[in-house]
Amino acid sequence: MTALALRCVGAEVTYTIRSHRPLIRDLLRGQRPAAQQVHAVRGVTFDVHVGESVGVVGPNGSGKTTLLQATTGLLAVSAGEILVRSVPAFLGVQAVLRNQLTGRRNIEVGLLAQGLDRAAVDDLVPAVVEFTGLGDAIDMRMETYSSGMRARLHFSVATAASPEILLIDEALAVGDRAFREKSARRLDEHRADSGTVLLVSHDLGEIRRSCDRVIWLQDGQIVADGPTAEVLAAYEASCTDRLRPAERGGPMRNPVPHARCMVGKATSRRAIVPGRPPTTSDAPTTTAR
């Protein structure tokens, strides 16, 4: 059995969400702003071995992102323990570094903040710039970037320092096709290099392609943990079950099948019309007078 990359033992993450920080008015009146304890991860235990690729699935709000953030140390565990072999790199969708700086400067800032020395950074920057495929946009300020461009930049920065453990939170979903293929290749290289990946995704096709094992989270707890095919089959079945009440004449008319989880290839739900794509010459020729 290969060495452990990370171990979660009874990990719990609880945080407080307040509508706002107490204002002086509240303090004087002895009121507390409405606060809600969120028990996002409730006692999760699993091991991930070096070189493993583990998918994490579950409905929105099941604690997937929180679990990943706790694993990278961005959130504190309130009980239990998360042990890691090295500090994992985290890739999220809302990734922003410093918006007022150019993409190139952000690459530099991101690499330095990860603790690389300046010689290593100088070596890496051209390769990272190249990998982003952002072209001239790399010297534009990041506030002008689209979410796909941000994702490209962030993926390139996070994987450039060759982290042993990579945590990906839906971060690949926003890139275009070319970049997704490129990033998938890089993940393959990463795995081949005995790198470890935890991948949160609602695109089950993506999980099937790249993970041999899946953890299913629900309400902050593990429902199932096992081989991809088995766990995804059970997960898909549960998604369909939850849709059924609506299909049985609930208030929701014309429900979209499998709306909660994208099953298989996303394209299969779209009607494909054979033939050439419509052009402007196909438009009705009635001319407005």
Binding site: G73, V84, Q94, A95, E108, G110, L112, G115, D117
Partner: protein, 281 residues
């Protein structure tokens, strides 16, 4: 379900826990290239949209002295109990502004790097620290202008000038410590950001930047109370070192004490909030 039993946890370490001080400092040391390079690049790009570019780093202090010279030297020449008022004022204003900039920009350092904090894990003390380094570098041209003004007024270098690095280090330590505390509090409540300009305006008037405290305050006890104001202490120390201004042992002790106590306490305060940065709860 995989039950974590047999594989050994050798080589694994806990994450999401407060880091012990030694490891925290080691992690911080590993960011030294960030701490130096990022503020340098920021300084360089700060004047990117100006015609004169980096020249502003020197022009800005020159113009400040120019204005003081015009107002206090030409328009309404008053000496307020000091010999060369322009030198007195230049030293006071620049020494004061150095601390002010570190502390007010440091207070904003967490809030303005929220994206970085939420995306990457690194010791958060990196941010106030790199701000201080940037301000220290930006002080270079300011110091050059100070030297020119001092020497042009016929003050030859003395043996006391050898103490300049010590004084600069002490004042930087004090300011960094204060900026650590300010960064934590401003992250909690942005009110501080709004208050700080007024705090510094008030301090400016009670720290003897514009007038000689010696000249107005004779009472020794009252003078001792001034040593409780770190800004007064450092402003006075600059004048003592550069132009042999009056100072006592009390101010010397206070300059060292303020530096050590503020840095240690400020860092402790900042680190106690390490887990809260980037969150709103």
């Amino acid at each position: 379900m995989t039950t974590p039993t047999e594989p050994s946890t050798d080589g694994l370490f806990p994450i999401g826990r407060p880091t012990p001080l030694g490891i925290y400092l080691r992690d911080l040391w590993a960011r030294r290239d960030y701490i130096v390079r990022v503020p340098l690049n920021d300084l360089r790009s700060q004047n990117a949209h100006t015609l004169l570019g980096g020249a502003w780093l020197v022009l800005n202090p020159l113009l400040q002295v120019g204005v003081y010279f015009l107002v206090f030297g030409v328009i309404m020449p008053i000496d307020r109990g000091v010999d060369s008022y322009l030198v007195f004022l230049t030293l006071g204003v620049f020494a004061f502004h150095y601390s002010q900039r570190i502390i007010s920009d440091g207070a904003r350092s967490m809030v303005s790097s929220m994206g970085l904090i939420r995306t990457l894990r690194f010791p958060r003390a990196t941010l106030p620290l790199s701000n201080s380094v940037g301000q220290a570098v930006a002080f270079g041209p300011v110091f050059a202008v100070m030297l020119v003004v001092v020497v042009a007024h016929g003050n030859a270098p003395t043996a006391r000038w050898l103490l300049l690095p010590v004084l600069f280090a002490l004042q930087s330590m004090f300011s960094l410590g204060a900026s650590f505390a300010a960064a934590r509090f401003n992250h909690l409540y942005r009110d501080l950001e709004n208050l700080l300009p007024f705090v510094f305006r008030l301090l400016f008037y009670v720290s003897g930047v514009l007038y000689s405290v010696d000249h107005y305050v004779d009472d020794a006890l009252l003078r001792g109370l001034f040593a409780l104001n770190p800004m007064y202490v450092y402003v006075t120390a600059w004048r003592w070192v550069m132009v042999s201004g009056p100072a006592t042992g009390v101010e010397a002790v206070a300059a060292v004490a303020w530096a050590l106590v503020t840095l240690v306490a400020g860092f402790a305060v900042f680190r106690a909030g390490e887990q809260t940065y980037g969150r709103t709860g």
